[in-house]
């Protein structure tokens, strides 16, 4: 079942669109990755899904509900959680307070959910009274994910969750991402590292110059010359059908 469907979404800053007619589907329990060169519009697209930017055209559907025009602060209540690449924790709040704030979008008792979250992220349980700003970069990324999960989303959008992390911590973060998907959540990951995306995701979307270039199952995408597509050398890729 598709938990998130974005159809021909166009958005950007001011009057100039950064992403144009981008479509994507994310299935429950699966990891879908968006890859592409710098400036392809990956983060802009993620911000549009989260309600930070408004689409000028297109449609965004979460769990069969059209959220295209829903106020940004209500989007988590419809089941979509977003974890930005930078500034993704409330630095002056403790770990526990960060999680509490994440639970505001849920009707469930935050204490029950927090216990479940601490079981998934034992490192955070040990640092629950620490200010989030005092955590390491990797721990902050885990806390950001944990905070997003407090509202029990059906879709989680992660914008480069491993950017700037050591290889060891990158593994830790990806293990958590896989665990989140295994529990039935639809995961959409914006990823700069193509190898990582091809290793962990089941579906991959390649975004080039703000538009869908190609998308499909990871095995099919792996056969393509992604380097060429990123650099604009592989013009044949432009003619591939949207669904392989």
């Amino acid at each position: 079942m598709d938990a998130l469907i974005a159809e021909k979404v166009t958005s950007g800053y001011g009057r100039s669109p950064i992403v144009r007619d981008v479509s994507i589907t994310v299935a429950a329990g699966m990891i879908t990755a968006i890859v592409g060169p710098n400036g392809a519009g990956k983060s802009t697209f993620a911000k549009t899904l989260a309600g930070i930017l408004r689409p000028t055209s297109g449609k965004i559907v979460v769990n069969d509900t059209d959220i295209t025009h829903v106020a940004g602060h209500l989007i988590p209540r419809y089941g979509l959680a977003y974890v930005p690449q930078n500034d993704n924790v409330f630095r002056t709040l403790t770990v526990r307070e960060n999680l509490e704030v994440g639970g505001y979008a849920s009707k469930k008792d935050p204490r029950t959910r927090m216990s479940e979250i601490f079981e998934i992220f034992p490192d955070l349980a040990r640092a629950d009274d620490k200010k989030a700003g005092n955590l390491s970069g990797g721990q902050q990324n885990l806390l950001a994910m944990a905070r997003a999960l407090m509202a029990e989303p059906t879709v989680i959008v992660l914008d480069e969750p491993t950017a700037g992390l050591s290889p060891a911590y990158t593994d830790v973060v990806w293990r958590q991402v896989e665990l989140i998907a295994k529990q039935g959540t639809a995961v959409l990951v914006i990823e700069q590292n193509v190898e990582r995306a091809l290793t962990h995701a089941q579906f991959v979307n390649v975004l080039v110059a703000g538009a869908n270039h190609v998308h499909g199952p990871v095995d099919e995408i792996a056969k393509l010359d992604l380097g060429g597509i990123f650099l604009g050398r592989d013009q044949t890729a432009q003619d591939l059908p949207a669904d392989i």
């Binding site: 940004g72 988590p76 977003y82 409330f90 002056t92 704030v101 505001y104 905070r147």
Partner: protein, 292 residues
Amino acid sequence: MTELFLAIGFGLVIASVLALSAVGLSLQFGITNYINFAYGDFMAVGAYIAWTLNTGPMHWNIWVSMIAGGVSVGILAVLLNRFLLAPFARKFQKLFYILIVTFGLSLVLLNLVSSVWGTEVQRYSISNESPFHVGPFLFTIDELVVVAIAIVAMLLIHFMLTRTRLGKSMRAMSDNSTLAMTSGIDTGRITTLTWFLSGLLAGIGGTVLGITQASITPGSGETFLFVIFAAVIVGGVGSIYGAMVGAVIVGLATEVAALFIDPSYKLDIAFAILILALLFRPNGLFARPGKA
């Protein structure tokens, strides 16, 4: 020695007035990220509404008048934000423009207060009981009530910020408003409530300033604004607890210094503290990332 204790005692009273006012200014700054230069005039509006209720035909008790003045300024602050400041802040991203707007608003409010209530010095109708000793300090009953109001207000604000959903949402929004919004916090509602609280504290601050100074004029809040700035900057811009500590430091320092120099230079002492803080600790005692 007696004079020193007298100065410390009155310093605590001024610190209480400062704490109420500085926390209100800091709360609003934390959420909107710009300084409201009309804050001193908000204080004057509150002081005059309280004066009207206190000395007019209704003859309300000064403390009830103070609350009514505070609530009125809270509502005024919400309306001014909704219809004037927020539209400007949305339209012009540069902080400079919104600062100019608050300057303009300050002038409008100052002239409005002058035309509605006049420019002559006014006084509240309060009992003129003799001061009495509390340990080595000397207070009037009204001064003690002002100190008690400030302590209760600070405790309530601490409780709100650390124990309630509203307070945690305010702190989250002050930290990162976009992240707060995407986490499900209704940032528009929190902004409105913050303006109300800021206005409420400005109105109460303006009235207790009038009580402790035994006079109110249209410009008294505006003059006091620079002392508030000193407290806020010493404590750390945007930090609520910093504003509380800054208020105590500036309040005590200005009153104790008046023992050694001409008391008419009190405002200059606050300025000197402000300049020293900017030179040696520009982020204040409780620096907040991205808020200086």
